[in-house]
């Protein structure tokens, strides 16, 4: 019996530090207590990147525009279809969505290693970092999406063949699922990069390659019929096709596709958080 057991009348213990913690002990309430830190990290990521740059936050706009123009050039050379929608809008929508996913994933996968110094010294809920990455990219997405809406308005006024469908209302859900994928895959990689640094390189490269099997710069409808079932196994397909169908009126997607995608996302996210919870306890020893 330790002396600590004598004062049973005292206030209950608030924290018990033990060697191992359950795979499902995520301490989400504690994460909520760190919401101010999440907000500050988001704000730091957002402001510090553009200090001492000429164009500052304008880069959020320039980046997708340049990518879009590149893809337009690429598209006209190869003669890829855009489902009959204006090329600019088609590529812009794909780029903006893909950028959100890719940026969240890569930044999250590096997060633990980049912040190793900080994490080795101070404790705060470790999920604060991935969550703040997903959120700060969400802001970037918001800005880029606004650009898309402005472009969309311009095209509609000039009589292009684009129209809204009810899928437009599902867009927030699509974005949420996309965030889940970026976060889930990102933290799985992050958990493993603490041990295998080279995995980080693989991810950057892998994400680039994965873009080409996802209908970002081509519509699903151009995929040969024989390959369609395989292409549709990619859970990111319904998200991108769904968003396009909502705002541009053309896309191949069913509610079942999106539901399945959401299901897979939840599984990946849960696995990710479990791995992350497990690894963060001894993370400081391995980095």
């Amino acid at each position: 019996m330790t002396p600590a057991d004598h004062d049973a009348h005292a206030a209950p213990w608030t924290t018990v530090i033990t060697p191992s913690r359950g795979w499902l002990d995520w301490r989400l309430r504690e994460l909520w207590r760190y919401r101010d830190l999440v907000a500050l990290f988001v704000w730091r990521d957002f402001t510090s990147v553009y200090k001492q740059t000429i164009l500052g936050p304008l880069w959020h706009v320039i980046q997708p525009l340049l990518a879009t123009l590149t893809f337009m050039g690429f598209g006209s050379v190869t003669g890829l279809s855009t489902d009959g929608t204006p090329k600019f809008l088609f590529y812009l929508s794909g780029t903006v969505l893909w950028t959100y996913f890719a940026a969240t994933l890569t930044q999250t996968s590096y997060a633990l290693v980049v912040n190793a110094n900080l994490l080795g010294k101070v404790y705060f809920h470790r999920l604060v970092i991935p969550v703040s990455i997903a959120l700060s990219n969400m802001i970037t997405f918001g800005i880029q999406f606004a650009i898309f809406l402005i472009a969309l308005g311009y095209y509609r006024l000039s009589g292009a063949d684009v129209h809204f469908t009810t899928w437009a209302f599902v867009t927030p859900l699509c974005l949420l699922i996309l965030a889940g994928y970026g976060l889930g895959c990102g933290i799985i990689v992050a958990a493993m990069t603490t041990r295998y640094r080279d995995l980080g390189r693989l991810v950057t490269f892998g994400v680039q390659l994965f873009m080409f099997v996802t209908p970002v710069i081509y519509p699903l409808s151009t995929v040969p019929a024989a390959l369609q079932p395989i292409a549709r196994l990619n859970p990111l397909v319904p998200i991108i096709e769904g968003c396009r169908k909502g705002f541009l009126g053309a896309g191949t997607v069913t509610p079942q596709d999106l539901t399945a995608s959401a299901g897979v996302m939840l599984v990946i996210l849960v696995i990710g958080v479990m791995l992350f919870t497990h690894i963060e306890r001894t993370f400081a020893d391995t980095v």
Partner: protein
């Protein structure tokens, strides 16, 4: 009084050879070596002391138990590598214990190194918010204390300048100011007092005293025995990852100073591959058996192992008496005549004292190696090379212990009496 922190049989093991990052290739090579029963090609050579090695496992903490009462300031002392930092890491939940548990009442905040999480591109004010939140404060709390923090740091004019433009002193002052205004129930402090100029150090000590007197529970780890003695009531001495002594601070401090190689005039230690430090120290006293005659020459030799070159390094030697008062100070600054730690390798220093003026008594040396003004010491250690100063019995009636701390050379003259 109830217990705020209860540390129960905590152990922390590190597997040798698997510390640090790895590549998949290394791991595969290791698995292959195990399969073919060959020695692990990537095992780290154990440079730690062997007593804590069991097989491939190094026990940084070994069955450590102690309690901290609410409102108490507890000191944790021990030599480099005794497990103090590991204890703090486990306490502040940076890493998990291998065995045992720690139960805590209240919010713990740790001050492991000031300035952690500062972003160079953000201004002082912005960093106060960021750093405060990292240390566990809410935005509202920080806003409430903002003026106080800025005033304490003394960098009012520069609070809207990016901190990368700060001098290292300003940086440290701002960082400490944020940390000092934390209001957790339990505060864990590691070596923060070793930074900044003397005036700021005094201010920090004052603030620490205020914090401990204010009924806050404090765990304080330091090499500065004076600070431990003045700020804490009880202390725990860690030796080789175990609790060697726990009790009133004064007793623990004297045990610490008397402990470990207490009769050895030579110190040898290993310096981690990414650090700088003293790898060998040798004191030559005028007589054998650690005895130094008052007024005789004394020589100190030190080997400094440098892995990361320093600019404007400083090597300091302080002789402390049996009550751990700092009596004599010697130092060497980096200069073109005496280049100090400018290149990697082992640098040997030699310091000769032509006539030692210390008064009779027992002394130990405290050694500090610092790289640059305001930075935390690269290496520091207390209680080294104990020696005893003896004085010959030339004075009528002999010498009384503690009568003075040193004797000065002087020339006396007595003028011839003038008849009145």
């Amino acid at each position: 009084m109830s217990i705020a922190v209860s540390v129960e049989s905590v152990s922390k093991a590190y597997r040798l050879g698997s510390i640090g990052s790895a590549t998949l290739q290394e791991d595969l090579a290791r698995v292959w070596a195990r399969v073919t029963r060959q020695p692990d090609p990537h095992a780290k050579i154990g440079e730690e002391d062997r007593s804590r090695l069991r097989g491939q496992t190094f026990w940084a903490l070994d069955d450590v138990s102690f309690d901290v009462r609410e409102g108490e300031a507890l000191g944790i002392v021990g030599r480099n590598g005794a497990g103090k930092s590991t204890m703090l890491k486990v306490l502040s939940q940076v890493t998990a214990p291998t065995k045992g548990q720690i139960r805590v009442r209240g919010r713990i905040a740790s001050l492991l190194e000031v300035g952690t999480g500062f972003h160079p591109d953000l201004t002082g004010r912005e960093n106060i918010f960021l750093n405060g939140a990292i240390l566990g404060m809410t935005k509202a709390e920080i806003r409430r204390k903002l003026d106080e923090i800025i005033a304490f740091s003394g960098v009012e004019q520069f609070v809207d300048t990016p901190v990368k433009r700060y001098s290292s002193g300003m940086y440290v002052r701002l960082a400490f100011a944020v940390a000092a205004h934390l209001e957790p129930e339990i505060l864990v402090i590691d070596e923060v007092l070793a930074v900044g100029d003397a005036e700021f150090q005094a201010k920090c000590l004052g603030k620490m005293g205020e914090v401990t007197r204010g009924g806050r529970t404090v765990l304080f780890v330091s090499h500065n025995m004076e600070a431990v003695a003045t700020l804490t009531q009880r202390a725990v001495l860690l030796v080789d990852g175990r609790v060697a002594k726990a009790g009133p601070s004064q007793e623990v401090i004297s045990a610490y100073l008397g402990h470990g190689a207490a009769t050895n005039l030579e110190y040898t230690g290993s310096v981690a591959p990414d650090r700088n430090g003293v790898s060998r120290l040798r004191l030559h006293t005028s007589s054998p058996h650690n005895v130094q005659q008052h007024g005789a020459p004394m020589t100190l030799e030190a080997d400094l192992t440098v892995h990361r070159p320093l600019d404007s390094a400083r090597f300091e030697v302080t002789a402390c008496d049996a009550d751990n008062r700092r009596i004599m100070h010697l130092w060497l600054y980096d200069s073109d005549d005496t280049p100090l730690c400018r290149t990697p390798g082992v640098h040997t220093l030699r310091c000769e004292i032509p006539r030692l003026h210390l008064y009779a008594g027992r002394y130990t040396l405290s050694i500090v190696l610092v790289g640059g003004i305001g930075s935390t010491p690269s290496w520091s250690e207390d209680g080294l090379c104990p020696f005893e100063v003896l004085m010959d019995r030339t004075r009528e009636g002999g010498w009384d212990r503690g009568e003075a701390t040193y004797l000065e050379d002087a020339h006396w003259a007595v003028a011839a009496p003038v008849a009145d």
